[in-house]
Protein backbone atom coordinates (compact mmCIF):
# COMPACT_ATOMS: atom_id res chain seq x y z
CA UNK A 1 0.00 0.00 0.00
CA UNK A 2 1.05 3.58 -0.61
CA UNK A 3 1.29 6.30 2.01
CA UNK A 4 -0.77 9.43 2.54
CA UNK A 5 1.42 12.57 2.61
CA UNK A 6 0.10 15.81 4.13
CA UNK A 7 1.68 18.63 2.13
CA UNK A 8 1.57 22.19 3.50
CA UNK A 9 1.44 25.23 1.23
CA UNK A 10 2.38 28.87 1.66
CA UNK A 11 0.13 31.31 3.54
CA UNK A 12 -0.40 33.71 0.64
CA UNK A 13 2.21 35.31 -1.58
CA UNK A 14 5.42 34.16 0.10
CA UNK A 15 8.54 32.59 -1.35
CA UNK A 16 8.41 28.81 -1.03
CA UNK A 17 11.94 28.72 0.46
CA UNK A 18 10.79 30.94 3.27
CA UNK A 19 8.21 28.56 4.69
CA UNK A 20 8.64 25.06 3.23
CA UNK A 21 11.54 22.67 3.91
CA UNK A 22 13.41 21.39 0.84
CA UNK A 23 12.10 17.87 1.47
CA UNK A 24 8.61 18.95 0.46
CA UNK A 25 9.88 19.68 -3.05
CA UNK A 26 11.30 16.14 -3.20
CA UNK A 27 8.09 14.54 -1.98
CA UNK A 28 6.03 16.55 -4.47
CA UNK A 29 8.31 15.45 -7.33
CA UNK A 30 7.81 11.80 -6.32
CA UNK A 31 4.00 11.95 -6.35
CA UNK A 32 1.56 11.50 -9.19
CA UNK A 33 -1.73 11.48 -7.27
CA UNK A 34 -3.08 14.47 -5.36
CA UNK A 35 -6.21 15.28 -3.38
CA UNK A 36 -6.83 19.03 -3.35
CA UNK A 37 -9.55 21.49 -2.40
CA UNK A 38 -9.39 23.31 -5.73
CA UNK A 39 -7.53 21.92 -8.75
CA UNK A 40 -6.74 25.29 -10.32
CA UNK A 41 -5.03 26.79 -7.26
CA UNK A 42 -3.36 23.46 -6.44
CA UNK A 43 -1.77 23.30 -9.90
CA UNK A 44 -0.49 26.83 -9.44
CA UNK A 45 0.92 25.95 -6.06
CA UNK A 46 2.70 22.80 -7.27
CA UNK A 47 4.22 24.75 -10.15
CA UNK A 48 5.62 27.18 -7.58
CA UNK A 49 7.06 24.41 -5.38
CA UNK A 50 8.60 22.40 -8.20
CA UNK A 51 8.69 24.41 -11.45
CA UNK A 52 10.08 21.51 -13.49
CA UNK A 53 7.24 19.06 -12.91
CA UNK A 54 4.82 18.40 -15.75
CA UNK A 55 1.49 19.27 -14.21
CA UNK A 56 -0.56 17.63 -16.96
CA UNK A 57 0.85 14.22 -16.04
CA UNK A 58 -0.54 14.50 -12.52
CA UNK A 59 -3.88 13.24 -11.29
CA UNK A 60 -6.02 15.64 -9.22
CA UNK A 61 -9.13 14.75 -7.29
CA UNK A 62 -11.05 17.42 -5.38
CA UNK A 63 -12.08 17.17 -1.74
CA UNK A 64 -14.18 20.10 -0.57
CA UNK A 65 -17.61 20.98 0.76
CA UNK A 66 -19.20 19.40 -2.35
CA UNK A 67 -17.64 15.97 -1.69
CA UNK A 68 -20.13 13.34 -0.56
CA UNK A 69 -19.12 10.96 2.25
CA UNK A 70 -19.52 8.03 -0.16
CA UNK A 71 -16.91 9.57 -2.51
CA UNK A 72 -14.26 9.81 0.21
CA UNK A 73 -13.30 6.16 0.04
CA UNK A 74 -12.56 6.31 -3.69
CA UNK A 75 -10.04 9.08 -3.09
CA UNK A 76 -7.84 6.46 -1.39
CA UNK A 77 -7.81 4.18 -4.47
CA UNK A 78 -4.27 5.17 -5.58
CA UNK A 79 -2.97 4.06 -2.18
CA UNK A 80 -4.68 0.69 -2.51
CA UNK A 81 -3.00 0.37 -5.91
CA UNK A 82 0.42 0.91 -4.36
CA UNK A 83 0.91 4.63 -5.08
CA UNK A 84 1.61 7.39 -2.58
CA UNK A 85 -1.01 10.13 -2.39
CA UNK A 86 -0.59 13.78 -1.39
CA UNK A 87 -3.19 16.05 0.23
CA UNK A 88 -2.66 19.75 -0.37
CA UNK A 89 -4.36 22.48 1.61
CA UNK A 90 -5.42 25.80 0.07
CA UNK A 91 -3.22 27.59 2.62
CA UNK A 92 -1.04 26.28 5.40
CA UNK A 93 -1.21 22.78 6.82
CA UNK A 94 -3.71 20.22 5.50
CA UNK A 95 -5.87 18.40 7.99
CA UNK A 96 -5.99 21.18 10.55
CA UNK A 97 -8.99 23.23 9.51
CA UNK A 98 -9.89 21.86 6.10
CA UNK A 99 -11.79 18.90 4.59
CA UNK A 100 -8.56 16.89 4.41
CA UNK A 101 -9.08 15.82 8.01
CA UNK A 102 -11.99 13.57 6.93
CA UNK A 103 -9.76 11.74 4.49
CA UNK A 104 -7.01 11.33 7.10
CA UNK A 105 -9.59 9.91 9.50
CA UNK A 106 -10.66 7.36 6.89
CA UNK A 107 -7.04 6.51 6.11
CA UNK A 108 -6.51 5.53 9.75
CA UNK A 109 -9.62 3.34 9.64
CA UNK A 110 -8.09 1.57 6.62
CA UNK A 111 -4.70 1.13 8.30
CA UNK A 112 -2.94 3.49 5.86
CA UNK A 113 0.30 5.20 6.94
CA UNK A 114 -0.11 8.97 7.26
CA UNK A 115 2.98 11.21 6.97
CA UNK A 116 2.69 14.89 8.02
CA UNK A 117 5.19 17.33 6.51
CA UNK A 118 6.37 20.57 8.10
CA UNK A 119 4.93 23.87 6.92
CA UNK A 120 3.53 27.21 8.04
CA UNK A 121 0.59 27.32 10.43
CA UNK A 122 -0.84 30.66 11.43
CA UNK A 123 -1.97 29.09 14.71
CA UNK A 124 1.50 27.96 15.67
CA UNK A 125 3.43 30.96 14.31
CA UNK A 126 1.17 33.39 16.14
CA UNK A 127 1.38 31.40 19.36
CA UNK A 128 5.20 31.35 19.19
CA UNK A 129 5.35 35.09 18.59
CA UNK A 130 2.62 36.10 21.04
CA UNK A 131 4.60 35.65 24.24
CA UNK A 132 1.51 33.99 25.69
CA UNK A 133 1.24 30.63 27.44
CA UNK A 134 2.15 27.86 25.00
CA UNK A 135 2.02 25.12 27.62
CA UNK A 136 -1.75 25.32 27.57
CA UNK A 137 -3.70 26.78 24.66
CA UNK A 138 -6.87 26.24 22.68
CA UNK A 139 -7.75 27.04 19.09
CA UNK A 140 -11.49 27.50 18.84
CA UNK A 141 -11.95 28.61 15.22
CA UNK A 142 -14.58 31.31 14.64
CA UNK A 143 -16.53 33.21 17.27
CA UNK A 144 -20.30 33.63 16.82
CA UNK A 145 -21.27 36.55 14.57
CA UNK A 146 -24.46 37.68 16.35
CA UNK A 147 -23.60 40.53 18.76
CA UNK A 148 -25.07 39.14 21.98
CA UNK A 149 -23.71 35.64 21.34
CA UNK A 150 -20.32 37.06 20.44
CA UNK A 151 -20.11 39.18 23.59
CA UNK A 152 -20.98 36.13 25.68
CA UNK A 153 -18.36 34.05 23.83
CA UNK A 154 -15.66 36.67 24.40
CA UNK A 155 -16.49 36.82 28.12
CA UNK A 156 -16.29 33.01 28.20
CA UNK A 157 -12.83 33.13 26.60
CA UNK A 158 -11.63 35.56 29.25
CA UNK A 159 -13.05 33.42 32.03
CA UNK A 160 -11.57 30.15 30.68
CA UNK A 161 -8.21 31.78 29.97
CA UNK A 162 -7.97 33.09 33.54
CA UNK A 163 -9.23 29.88 35.14
CA UNK A 164 -7.06 27.41 33.18
CA UNK A 165 -4.20 29.79 32.30
CA UNK A 166 -5.05 28.76 28.76
CA UNK A 167 -4.28 30.98 25.76
CA UNK A 168 -7.39 31.30 23.57
CA UNK A 169 -6.79 31.48 19.80
CA UNK A 170 -9.47 32.37 17.25
CA UNK A 171 -9.98 33.67 13.73
CA UNK A 172 -12.45 35.68 11.71
CA UNK A 173 -13.23 36.14 8.04
CA UNK A 174 -10.82 38.94 6.96
CA UNK A 175 -13.61 41.34 5.96
CA UNK A 176 -14.98 41.11 9.53
CA UNK A 177 -11.65 41.64 11.31
CA UNK A 178 -12.22 45.31 12.11
CA UNK A 179 -15.63 44.54 13.61
CA UNK A 180 -14.19 41.70 15.69
CA UNK A 181 -11.45 43.94 17.04
CA UNK A 182 -14.00 46.62 17.88
CA UNK A 183 -16.06 44.03 19.79
CA UNK A 184 -13.02 42.70 21.66
CA UNK A 185 -12.02 46.20 22.73
CA UNK A 186 -15.57 46.90 23.90
CA UNK A 187 -16.09 43.66 25.84
CA UNK A 188 -12.74 42.64 27.34
CA UNK A 189 -11.19 43.72 30.59
CA UNK A 190 -8.61 46.45 30.03
CA UNK A 191 -5.87 44.28 31.59
CA UNK A 192 -6.53 41.30 29.27
CA UNK A 193 -3.71 40.79 26.79
CA UNK A 194 -4.61 40.52 23.10
CA UNK A 195 -2.20 39.44 20.39
CA UNK A 196 -3.03 40.36 16.80
CA UNK A 197 -1.03 38.53 14.11
CA UNK A 198 -1.55 39.82 10.57
CA UNK A 199 -0.15 38.75 7.17
CA UNK A 200 1.99 36.02 8.76
CA UNK A 201 5.12 35.03 6.76
CA UNK A 202 4.60 37.96 4.37
CA UNK A 203 6.65 41.14 4.12
CA UNK A 204 3.80 43.09 5.70
CA UNK A 205 3.62 40.70 8.71
CA UNK A 206 3.08 42.04 12.16
CA UNK A 207 2.54 40.27 15.44
CA UNK A 208 1.84 42.54 18.39
CA UNK A 209 0.66 41.76 21.92
CA UNK A 210 -0.77 44.54 24.09
CA UNK A 211 -3.34 44.91 26.81
CA UNK A 212 -6.85 45.81 25.68
CA UNK A 213 -6.31 49.17 27.38
CA UNK A 214 -3.21 49.82 25.28
CA UNK A 215 -4.85 48.68 22.02
CA UNK A 216 -7.68 51.19 22.60
CA UNK A 217 -5.20 54.05 22.34
CA UNK A 218 -4.13 53.12 18.79
CA UNK A 219 -6.41 50.82 16.81
CA UNK A 220 -4.56 49.19 13.89
CA UNK A 221 -6.10 48.82 10.43
CA UNK A 222 -6.45 45.05 9.99
CA UNK A 223 -9.51 44.92 7.81
CA UNK A 224 -9.44 42.46 4.88
CA UNK A 225 -6.01 41.20 5.91
CA UNK A 226 -5.57 37.58 7.06
CA UNK A 227 -5.35 37.74 10.83
CA UNK A 228 -5.43 35.53 13.88
CA UNK A 229 -6.19 36.61 17.45
CA UNK A 230 -4.89 35.35 20.78
CA UNK A 231 -6.20 36.30 24.19
CA UNK A 232 -4.84 35.76 27.67
CA UNK A 233 -6.53 37.10 30.76
CA UNK A 234 -5.62 37.01 34.42
Amino acid sequence: MGKLYLIPTTLGETAVEKVLPAEIMQVVRSLRYFVVENTRTARRHLKKIAPEIIIDELDFKELNEHTQPIELDMLLDPIRNGFDLGILSEAGCPGVADPGADLVKLAHEKGIQVVPLVGPSSILLSLMASGMNGQNFAFIGYLPVKPTERSAAVRDLERISARDKQTQIFIEAPYRNAKLLEDLLAVCNSQTRLCIAVDLTMDSEFVVTKTIGAWKKAIPDINKRPAIFLLQSQ
Copy 2:
Protein backbone atom coordinates in the same frame (compact mmCIF):
# COMPACT_ATOMS: atom_id res chain seq x y z
CA MET B 1 16.21 48.63 17.22
CA GLY B 2 16.90 45.04 16.18
CA LYS B 3 14.29 42.32 15.81
CA LEU B 4 13.70 39.17 17.83
CA TYR B 5 13.74 36.05 15.61
CA LEU B 6 12.21 32.81 16.85
CA ILE B 7 14.28 30.00 15.33
CA PRO B 8 12.92 26.43 15.36
CA THR B 9 15.20 23.40 15.57
CA THR B 10 14.84 19.75 14.58
CA LEU B 11 12.89 17.30 16.76
CA GLY B 12 15.76 14.91 17.38
CA GLU B 13 18.10 13.35 14.84
CA THR B 14 16.56 14.52 11.59
CA ALA B 15 18.13 16.11 8.52
CA VAL B 16 17.77 19.88 8.67
CA GLU B 17 16.42 19.98 5.09
CA LYS B 18 13.57 17.74 6.11
CA VAL B 19 12.04 20.09 8.65
CA LEU B 20 13.49 23.61 8.28
CA PRO B 21 12.93 26.03 5.38
CA ALA B 22 16.06 27.33 3.65
CA GLU B 23 15.36 30.84 4.95
CA ILE B 24 16.23 29.74 8.49
CA MET B 25 19.79 29.05 7.37
CA GLN B 26 19.97 32.58 5.96
CA VAL B 27 18.62 34.16 9.12
CA VAL B 28 21.04 32.16 11.27
CA ARG B 29 23.97 33.28 9.12
CA SER B 30 22.93 36.91 9.60
CA LEU B 31 22.80 36.75 13.41
CA ARG B 32 25.53 37.19 15.97
CA TYR B 33 23.46 37.19 19.18
CA PHE B 34 21.54 34.17 20.42
CA VAL B 35 19.44 33.33 23.47
CA VAL B 36 19.38 29.57 24.05
CA GLU B 37 18.35 27.09 26.72
CA ASN B 38 21.70 25.29 26.68
CA THR B 39 24.78 26.69 24.96
CA ARG B 40 26.39 23.34 24.21
CA THR B 41 23.42 21.85 22.35
CA ALA B 42 22.65 25.20 20.68
CA ARG B 43 26.17 25.37 19.25
CA ARG B 44 25.79 21.85 17.91
CA HIS B 45 22.46 22.73 16.38
CA LEU B 46 23.72 25.90 14.69
CA LYS B 47 26.67 23.95 13.26
CA LYS B 48 24.18 21.54 11.73
CA ILE B 49 22.02 24.31 10.24
CA ALA B 50 24.91 26.36 8.82
CA PRO B 51 28.18 24.35 8.84
CA GLU B 52 30.24 27.28 7.54
CA ILE B 53 29.51 29.70 10.39
CA ILE B 54 32.25 30.36 12.94
CA ILE B 55 30.58 29.46 16.19
CA ASP B 56 33.24 31.10 18.37
CA GLU B 57 32.35 34.52 16.94
CA LEU B 58 28.79 34.20 18.19
CA ASP B 59 27.41 35.43 21.48
CA PHE B 60 25.27 33.00 23.52
CA LYS B 61 23.20 33.85 26.56
CA GLU B 62 21.25 31.17 28.37
CA LEU B 63 17.56 31.39 29.25
CA ASN B 64 16.31 28.45 31.27
CA GLU B 65 14.87 27.54 34.67
CA HIS B 66 17.89 29.13 36.37
CA THR B 67 17.27 32.55 34.81
CA GLN B 68 16.03 35.17 37.28
CA PRO B 69 13.23 37.55 36.16
CA ILE B 70 15.63 40.46 36.68
CA GLU B 71 18.08 38.96 34.17
CA LEU B 72 15.47 38.72 31.40
CA ASP B 73 15.66 42.37 30.48
CA MET B 74 19.42 42.25 29.89
CA LEU B 75 18.93 39.51 27.33
CA LEU B 76 17.33 42.12 25.09
CA ASP B 77 20.38 44.43 25.20
CA PRO B 78 21.64 43.46 21.71
CA ILE B 79 18.29 44.56 20.26
CA ARG B 80 18.54 47.93 22.00
CA ASN B 81 22.00 48.27 20.49
CA GLY B 82 20.59 47.74 17.01
CA PHE B 83 21.36 44.03 16.51
CA ASP B 84 18.90 41.27 15.68
CA LEU B 85 18.63 38.51 18.27
CA GLY B 86 17.66 34.86 17.77
CA ILE B 87 15.95 32.57 20.29
CA LEU B 88 16.59 28.86 19.76
CA SER B 89 14.57 26.10 21.36
CA GLU B 90 16.08 22.79 22.48
CA ALA B 91 13.63 21.01 20.16
CA GLY B 92 10.94 22.31 17.85
CA CYS B 93 9.48 25.81 18.00
CA PRO B 94 10.68 28.36 20.57
CA GLY B 95 8.09 30.15 22.63
CA VAL B 96 5.54 27.35 22.63
CA ALA B 97 6.48 25.29 25.66
CA ASP B 98 9.84 26.67 26.71
CA PRO B 99 11.26 29.62 28.69
CA GLY B 100 11.56 31.65 25.47
CA ALA B 101 7.92 32.71 25.86
CA ASP B 102 8.87 34.94 28.82
CA LEU B 103 11.39 36.79 26.70
CA VAL B 104 8.89 37.21 23.87
CA LYS B 105 6.38 38.61 26.35
CA LEU B 106 8.93 41.15 27.54
CA ALA B 107 9.86 42.04 23.96
CA HIS B 108 6.23 43.00 23.29
CA GLU B 109 6.21 45.18 26.41
CA LYS B 110 9.27 46.97 25.03
CA GLY B 111 7.74 47.40 21.57
CA ILE B 112 10.26 45.09 19.90
CA GLN B 113 9.34 43.40 16.60
CA VAL B 114 9.01 39.62 16.98
CA VAL B 115 9.44 37.40 13.89
CA PRO B 116 8.41 33.71 14.11
CA LEU B 117 10.04 31.30 11.65
CA VAL B 118 8.52 28.05 10.38
CA GLY B 119 9.65 24.75 11.85
CA PRO B 120 8.50 21.40 13.19
CA SER B 121 5.99 21.27 16.03
CA SER B 122 4.95 17.90 17.40
CA ILE B 123 1.62 19.44 18.39
CA LEU B 124 0.80 20.58 14.88
CA LEU B 125 2.25 17.60 13.00
CA SER B 126 0.35 15.15 15.18
CA LEU B 127 -2.87 17.13 14.83
CA MET B 128 -2.54 17.20 11.01
CA ALA B 129 -1.92 13.47 10.87
CA SER B 130 -4.46 12.42 13.50
CA GLY B 131 -7.59 12.85 11.39
CA MET B 132 -9.18 14.51 14.42
CA ASN B 133 -10.95 17.84 14.64
CA GLY B 134 -8.49 20.64 13.84
CA GLN B 135 -11.13 23.37 13.88
CA ASN B 136 -11.24 23.15 17.65
CA PHE B 137 -8.41 21.68 19.71
CA ALA B 138 -6.57 22.21 22.97
CA PHE B 139 -3.02 21.43 23.98
CA ILE B 140 -2.91 20.96 27.73
CA GLY B 141 0.68 19.86 28.34
CA TYR B 142 1.16 17.15 30.98
CA LEU B 143 -1.54 15.22 32.82
CA PRO B 144 -1.24 14.78 36.60
CA VAL B 145 0.99 11.87 37.64
CA LYS B 146 -0.93 10.71 40.73
CA PRO B 147 -3.28 7.83 39.76
CA THR B 148 -6.55 9.20 41.11
CA GLU B 149 -5.88 12.71 39.79
CA ARG B 150 -4.83 11.32 36.45
CA SER B 151 -7.96 9.19 36.08
CA ALA B 152 -10.10 12.22 36.88
CA ALA B 153 -8.17 14.33 34.36
CA VAL B 154 -8.60 11.73 31.61
CA ARG B 155 -12.35 11.55 32.26
CA ASP B 156 -12.44 15.36 32.10
CA LEU B 157 -10.70 15.27 28.71
CA GLU B 158 -13.28 12.83 27.38
CA ARG B 159 -16.12 14.96 28.70
CA ILE B 160 -14.74 18.23 27.31
CA SER B 161 -13.88 16.63 23.97
CA ALA B 162 -17.42 15.28 23.56
CA ARG B 163 -19.10 18.48 24.78
CA ASP B 164 -17.08 20.98 22.69
CA LYS B 165 -16.05 18.62 19.86
CA GLN B 166 -12.55 19.67 20.88
CA THR B 167 -9.52 17.47 20.22
CA GLN B 168 -7.45 17.15 23.41
CA ILE B 169 -3.67 17.00 22.98
CA PHE B 170 -1.22 16.10 25.75
CA ILE B 171 2.28 14.81 26.40
CA GLU B 172 4.20 12.79 28.96
CA ALA B 173 7.85 12.35 29.88
CA PRO B 174 9.04 9.59 27.51
CA TYR B 175 9.94 7.17 30.32
CA ARG B 176 6.33 7.36 31.55
CA ASN B 177 4.68 6.85 28.12
CA ALA B 178 3.89 3.16 28.66
CA LYS B 179 2.23 3.92 31.99
CA LEU B 180 0.20 6.75 30.48
CA LEU B 181 -1.01 4.52 27.68
CA GLU B 182 -1.95 1.83 30.19
CA ASP B 183 -3.95 4.39 32.17
CA LEU B 184 -5.70 5.73 29.05
CA LEU B 185 -6.71 2.21 27.99
CA ALA B 186 -8.02 1.51 31.49
CA VAL B 187 -10.00 4.72 31.94
CA CYS B 188 -11.36 5.75 28.53
CA ASN B 189 -14.55 4.67 26.84
CA SER B 190 -13.86 1.95 24.27
CA GLN B 191 -15.31 4.13 21.47
CA THR B 192 -13.04 7.12 22.25
CA ARG B 193 -10.43 7.66 19.55
CA LEU B 194 -6.81 7.94 20.62
CA CYS B 195 -4.00 9.07 18.32
CA ILE B 196 -0.43 8.15 19.29
CA ALA B 197 2.32 10.01 17.42
CA VAL B 198 5.86 8.75 18.08
CA ASP B 199 9.30 9.84 16.83
CA LEU B 200 7.79 12.58 14.64
CA THR B 201 9.91 13.59 11.60
CA MET B 202 12.29 10.69 12.22
CA ASP B 203 12.63 7.50 10.15
CA SER B 204 10.95 5.54 12.93
CA GLU B 205 7.93 7.91 12.98
CA PHE B 206 4.46 6.54 13.38
CA VAL B 207 1.15 8.29 13.80
CA VAL B 208 -1.80 5.99 14.35
CA THR B 209 -5.39 6.74 15.38
CA LYS B 210 -7.60 3.95 16.70
CA THR B 211 -10.42 3.55 19.15
CA ILE B 212 -9.44 2.63 22.71
CA GLY B 213 -11.09 -0.74 22.08
CA ALA B 214 -8.86 -1.37 19.06
CA TRP B 215 -5.68 -0.22 20.86
CA LYS B 216 -6.36 -2.72 23.64
CA LYS B 217 -5.96 -5.59 21.15
CA ALA B 218 -2.38 -4.63 20.25
CA ILE B 219 -0.53 -2.31 22.61
CA PRO B 220 2.47 -0.66 20.91
CA ASP B 221 5.85 -0.28 22.59
CA ILE B 222 6.25 3.47 22.99
CA ASN B 223 8.30 3.61 26.14
CA LYS B 224 11.21 6.09 26.21
CA ARG B 225 10.31 7.36 22.72
CA PRO B 226 9.17 10.98 22.25
CA ALA B 227 5.41 10.81 21.88
CA ILE B 228 2.34 12.99 21.83
CA PHE B 229 -1.23 11.88 22.43
CA LEU B 230 -4.53 13.14 21.01
CA LEU B 231 -7.97 12.17 22.18
CA GLN B 232 -11.40 12.68 20.67
CA SER B 233 -14.55 11.31 22.23
CA GLN B 234 -18.20 11.41 21.15
